[in-house]
């Protein structure tokens, strides 16, 4: 009989090893999936993980990698703080949309004013938009005990409808011949988030790195970070130690909303360029995978963000060159989280073989 024995403390070694194992297992089973779809598994895996970085066209793919990684890392860092404390914001996609709408609205309202403060104002508006959207589930939870998972998720669908009405209504390009979608911020230098477009670097990249440092300092050097970790590990002990769960809920949801809102704003003012009906592309959900794959650790999230960005870019290449369906990559990403959660067993438990079942 196989018996599981709980470890006194999670194994440090396994907690580093499981993400690697999960990636390897995903590659293996992903390869099987690609083989089933009629592709050479080796070619597909190489296309996804190797070509964007080291092929002869990698000079073209590497900037794209930066563009994809920035929002994923920024959102995931915010989410991880809540996840650590058992507060589940899964509506980052909605907060991302609201950040983009609010930020773009400010930029579009000031168009064509040429001034240094246009972009900072947009950043503030985007951050506030995302934060306020996330504060709805936070305050409802604190005041009424409403489940934050369901509310934050419902608000994604509300945000998507809001996005559509904005793209068709107030934010529509007045010179767009009636087509949906806003004016393109690419043509408005004061409002662009690009720093080095050729290298794929915009202010979102900077913000993502700052967020990683911020979260690292918060978790290791600050009282709030300690409260977050304590609440996650031992909620009862945390309450006795004077942690205010309501304040922690508001803090972590608000902060993750703020980060997601910023990600949305930097995206709309840079890579996306404009508000469209289908502006959002699922970063808010993929960031959940990033957060877990990075073990809810800021540095880990940075690495995981790049890995998931790699699957996006590699997936696009595989789609163009091998004709691999886009959905296959989505399955691939889902698998990754599956294996990670399954292998985590090894972090928290020791597997023992015993002769007899002891009930």
């Amino acid at each position: 009989m196989i018996k599981l024995e709980k470890r006194r403390q999670p194994s440090q070694a396994w907690s580093y090893a499981t993400p690697v194992l999960a990636v390897l297992a995903t590659m293996f089973f992903g390869g099987l999936l690609f083989a089933f779809l009629g592709e050479s598994p080796f070619a597909a895996i190489k296309t996804i993980f190797w070509d964007p970085l080291f092929s002869e066209f990698s000079f073209y793919y590497r900037p794209q990698l930066m563009v994809k990684a920035a929002p994923l890392v920024l959102i995931a860092v915010g989410l991880s703080l809540g996840f650590k404390a058992g507060i589940w914001n899964i509506g980052a996609e909605g907060q991302y949309i609201l950040g983009a709408i609010c930020g773009a609205a400010v930029g579009l309202a000031l168009y064509p004013l040429d001034a240094w403060y246009v972009f900072p104002l947009m950043v503030i508006a985007g951050a506030l938009g995302g934060m306020l959207w996330a504060l709805i589930p936070a305050l409802l939870k604190v005041r009424f005990g409403t489940n934050e998972i369901l509310v934050s998720l419902m608000l994604v669908y509300v945000a998507e409808q809001l996005l559509a009405s904005m793209a068709l209504g107030p934010l529509r390009n007045p010179e767009g011949y009636g087509f949906p979608g806003s004016r393109n911020l690419d043509e408005y230098p004061s409002a662009t988030s690009w720093i080095l477009e050729d290298a794929g670097i915009h202010w979102g990249t900077v913000a993502a790195l700052l967020a990683v440092v911020f979260a690292f300092v918060l978790l290791t050097r600050h009282m709030t970070g300690f409260h977050i970790r304590l609440t996650g590990d031992a909620p009862r002990a945390a309450r006795f130690a004077g942690v205010n769960p309501g304040r922690l809920t508001v803090f972590s949801l608000g902060l993750s909303g703020l980060f997601a809102g910023l990600a949305g704003l930097f995206e709309v003012a840079g890579p996306a360029g404009q508000i469209t009906i289908d502006f959002n592309s699922g970063y808010g959900f993929t960031a959940i995978i990033v957060a877990f794959l990075g073990r809810l650790n800021p540095i880990g999230i940075l690495l995981a963000g790049f890995l998931l960005a790699l699957t996006y870019i590699g997936g696009e290449i595989a789609q163009n060159q091998l004709g691999l369906p886009a959905a296959a990559i989505q399955v691939f990403q889902g698998m990754l989280l599956f294996f990670l959660l399954a292998f985590d067993l090894l972090t928290n438990y020791r597997i023992r073989l015993t002769l007899r079942e002891t009930a």
Binding site: L140, T146, L150, A327, G334, L341, A342
Partner: protein
């Protein structure tokens, strides 16, 4: 604005059709949660059921087989969740989310070649003489079989939980898994069975969307129905008949807003489209405020069970 097209019997009939997918998924999840497991993968299981059912129905020409295939497909997917949470002892929230993300990808992968196709028509109830009773017949007695199956499921789950030994054990496992384990009940086995049942129900709900309600396959067609089913379980305070009320209320709102859209009410379409989600949130708030937290929830809901001490 034109309200002359509003017909009460038709409204009730379409309300029942709109409510059935979420009702099926909700009654399945209700059983899962009464066993103490929170499966947030309902959305993923529903959409997998939607495409499995659609594919089977198109290929065999039988909607009945389609529903069977949908239930089987989602059941298999739910067993992945069971494997993660019951055997690998993973966090239930994270596992449920991964199930949803995985299911959304898987369904769109399977569904690539099914876009734009028409599924075979589901068999409709037609009792000569009775189904033609004015108003009553049109509203209640001309549906496809799954509407009645969903109602029977609600009654069945209610009876099971209230009157049978199996239901008592299931509730014991959900309320206090340590005590149930000490009494000799196989907590893990019972939970896996409950999860499988929830998966099959979610699959039926998804297939109802793709085979009857829409009827067509499009990517991401469940559009949050699985999450609304989860909300309905909370609304129902984990009681089967209240889940029926919740689902039908939701169905009513959906049908009303669609009819308002069709009638050209002077309200933006997007505002109407978001109304079911907004109202779901409002209802959740009212319910949570009244029951002062998780008073009605099974006591072991979402908690990890490990007997190896």
């Amino acid at each position: 604005m034109d309200f002359s097209s509003f017909n009460a019997a038709l409204l009730i009939a379409s309300l029942m059709v709109a409510a059935t997918p979420v009702l099926l998924a909700a009654i399945g999840e209700l059983v899962v949660e009464r066993a103490g497991v929170l499966n947030l993968g309902v959305e993923g299981m529903m959409i997998t059921g939607a495409i499995c059912g659609f594919a089977v129905a198109v290929n065999t020409g039988s909607p009945m087989l389609g529903f069977v295939g949908a239930a089987a497909g989602s059941l298999v997917l739910s067993l992945l969740f069971a494997l993660l949470t019951q055997l690998a002892l993973a966090n239930q929230v994270a596992s449920g989310l991964s199930l949803t993300l995985f299911g959304l990808g898987l369904s769109s992968l399977i569904g690539q070649s099914y876009g734009g196709q028409k599924p075979p028509r589901a068999y409709r109830l037609d009792i000569p003489g009775i189904s033609d009773i004015p108003f009553f017949g049109r509203a209640f007695l001309q549906h496809d079989m799954m509407v009645y199956v969903s109602l029977a499921l609600v009654a069945g789950v209610w009876a099971l939980l209230k009157y049978t030994r199996a239901g008592l054990i299931l509730r014991a496992v959900g309320e206090n898994h340590d005590a149930a384990h000490a009494l000799g009940y196989k907590v893990i086995t019972i939970r896996i069975l409950a999860i499988a049942f929830g998966g099959a129900c979610a699959g039926l709900g998804g297939a109802y969307l793709s085979l009857v309600r829409v009827p067509q396959w499009t990517d991401g067609m469940t559009a949050g129905a699985g999450w609304i089913a989860l909300a309905i379980v909370v609304f129902a305070s984990w009681k089967p008949w209240r889940a029926l009320i919740g689902a039908y209320l939701f169905g009513g709102i959906t049908v009303l807003q669609l009819n308002f859209q069709a009638a050209g009410v002077a309200v933006p379409v997007q505002l109407l489209s978001m109304s079911p989600y907004v109202i779901t949130i409002l209802v959740l708030v009212v319910i949570s405020a009244r029951s002062s937290g998780a008073g009605a929830a099974p006591a072991s809901l979402g908690r990890l069970f490990h007997a190896g001490r």
